[in-house]
């Protein structure tokens, strides 16, 4: 197949379908052939559902030909992280613990994608229960970075990031509890959004920590990310965390630019709290300078320290995750991989006082970020402090994995988007993160698109030939 089809965005594919230059079936066939050729080395998929994808593509093709075009995702392939239910397929959570029985219903987000006519390609690799990875002691191998398969692709939405980076599909769903959409986005050089807490339903998604879990869109460019959020966002009365509110549109206003927009640069995260790799720091400065050159007004912002943000996030995550896994950890500890076992058991040793102290401090942290976002429109900060580690270097992965600035915004619920800031001297993606007020996800897209347009990072792809 030509690389043009592998790197086609959803927007470009939709346009090609509408003008009959390409059909959904042609696109899905080409992508399936690419997956068959490349995925044995990358492990993005836990289960490729080629037959169902071709059937869905044929249906979309017939509908489009009959003039019943459902919208911009009609006929467009999408990959689903395997903690999200897809009817008829098991939700493995990348774990031996889960029963091998098919889901009886789609998760709300998958149902919305089907309604929009998107083509489900299959279920994607994750860290075990979205926390234990990268691991080599699970029923499926860990996904590998498409820029260099010796490196970690980030997690836990690893397969989503890898599949996008490798040109297997233009759209994917991930989930994010401590940074799991934005980590693979950072490591694989794609765009990943953790939306405002409550904006996207989590019903039908296996939980990790109720008050920190988000479902997020992952794509190769900003416009597709906004389209995907447009499709999956919306109030769900059966999701206790769902936010009622007006229907919001995210794909408009992308090209507004940043002239006059106030951007607060949170420098202490990567300069003081967790000193970043020099190339990461230089990449962040480049993004800041570029946006200033585009007319943004930059200032420096101070927030609570990354160390304390991380501690609050982890105490809450551990406490909530323990309530989900306690029964299995008591009865079947050997069915978990070592990393998941170690990361899910700390909740057994926390007290009610520990959790409430974290929740009280969380309230102050939300107020601190809200206050900062009164002074500016958007925050700019690091996502990962290092380029991706070597995946088989467990010590280096353990050292670099927590060196990130994503968990603060799971703790506070603010929308946060990570994307490529450039490439390191070793050819690995560097990253930047933007953060906005609650429900101002569209402002993130506006800023991210300004950086993307100025830098051309969306045109950088790994050489997988």
């Amino acid at each position: 197949m030509s690389d043009d089809l592998a790197w086609l965005t959803a927007t470009q594919a939709s346009r090609a379908f509408a003008t009959r230059k390409l059909s959904p079936t042609e696109l899905v066939r080409a992508l399936l052939a690419r997956i068959e050729r490349l995925d044995p080395k990358l492990n993005a998929f836990i289960r490729l559902d080629g037959e169902a994808a071709l059937a869905a593509a044929a249906t979309a093709e017939a509908e489009i030909a009959a003039g019943r075009h459902r919208g911009p995702l009609h006929g467009v392939p999408v990959g689903i992280k395997d903690i999200i239910d897809v009817v008829g397929l098991p939700t493995t959570c990348h774990s031996k613990v889960m029963p091998n029985t098919p889901a009886t219903a789609d998760a709300v987000v998958v149902g919305k994608l089907r309604q929009a006519g998107a083509v489900i390609m299959g279920k994607l690799s994750t860290h075990e229960f979205a926390i234990g990875g990268p691991s080599f002691d699970l029923p499926w191998p860990p996904a590998r970075n498409p820029w260099n398969r010796d490196h970690h692709p980030g997690g836990s939405s690893s397969g989503s990031g890898v599949g996008l980076g490798a040109g297997f599909f233009p759209l994917a769903l991930g989930t994010d509890t401590g940074g799991s959409v934005r980590n693979p986005a950072s490591a694989c050089g794609i765009v990943g959004l953790k939306p405002t807490y409550g904006l996207v339903s989590r019903r039908g998604v296996f939980p990790l920590a109720f008050s920190l879990d988000h479902v997020g869109p992952m794509t190769r460019d900003v416009a597709d990310n906004a389209l995907l959020l447009d499709t999956i966002a919306g109030y769900d009365p059966h999701d206790p965390g769902s936010a009622a509110g007006p229907r919001r549109y995210f794909a408009t206003g992308l090209e507004r630019g940043v002239r006059g927009l106030r951007i607060g640069y949170v420098r202490h995260f990567h300069e003081h709290d967790m000193p970043a790799h020099p190339e990461v720091a230089a990449g962040l400065d480049t993004v800041a300078r570029t946006l200033a050159g585009e007319g943004a007004i930059l200032s420096t912002i101070t927030l609570p320290s990354l160390g304390e943000f991380a501690a609050v996030n982890r105490v809450i995550l551990n406490a909530e995750a323990w309530t989900i896994h306690a029964l299995w950890l008591r009865e079947r500890p050997g069915d978990y991989g070592q990393l998941a076992r170690r990361r899910l058991m700390p909740g057994a040793f926390l007290t009610a006082g520990d959790l409430l102290a974290a929740q009280r401090r969380r309230a102050e942290m939300i107020a601190a970020v809200d206050a900062a976002l009164e002074a500016v429109d958007v925050l700019l900060c690091a996502s990962s402090m290092d380029p991706a580690s070597r995946i088989e270097d467990a010590e280096e992965t353990a050292r670099t994995y927590p060196r990130q600035a994503r968990a603060p915004f799971n703790t506070t619920g603010h929308p946060a988007l990570a994307m490529m800031a450039g490439l390191s001297s070793d050819g690995l993606p560097l990253s930047v993160q933007f953060v906005a007020r609650h429900f101002a996800d569209a402002t993130l897209f506006q800023v991210a698109r300004a950086w993307e347009r100025a830098s051309g990072v969306d045109r950088l792809h790994p050489d997988l030939s």
Partner: protein, 102 residues
């Protein structure tokens, strides 16, 4: 170590020649915090084993004692890094909700 500046915007990143405006410093009320009571506290093996058994982790303790020890140390390490609010009026998130009433 220098004291941390107050939260919020407090200076420019690069010389003002690059930017259209030079916002003034914005003072914010400082948080009221106290060190966690866990700070400096060390769990010994006997205590960890007792807590693990209380939590029903007997099997994990027998089969994966290193994992249990590592998990306990993570828990105590994390909770000790949180600065507990000293202001008694600071309530936990999320706030209690009882609906909109009749």
């Amino acid at each position: 170590m220098e004291p941390a500046p107050p939260y919020g915007r407090h200076d420019l990143v690069v010389p003002p020649v690059f930017f259209a405006a030079s916002p003034l410093a914005r003072a914010r009320p400082r948080r009221t915090i106290a060190a966690s009571p866990h700070r400096g506290f060390v769990m010994d093996k006997t205590l960890i084993e007792a807590l693990a058994r209380q939590a029903g982790l007997d099997r994990a303790l027998a089969e994966f004692p290193d994992c249990v020890m590592a998990a306990a140390k993570q828990a105590i390490g994390r909770s000790s890094e949180i600065n507990t609010p000293t202001n008694p009026a600071v309530e936990p998130w999320p706030p209690m909700k009882v609906g909109a009433g009749a």
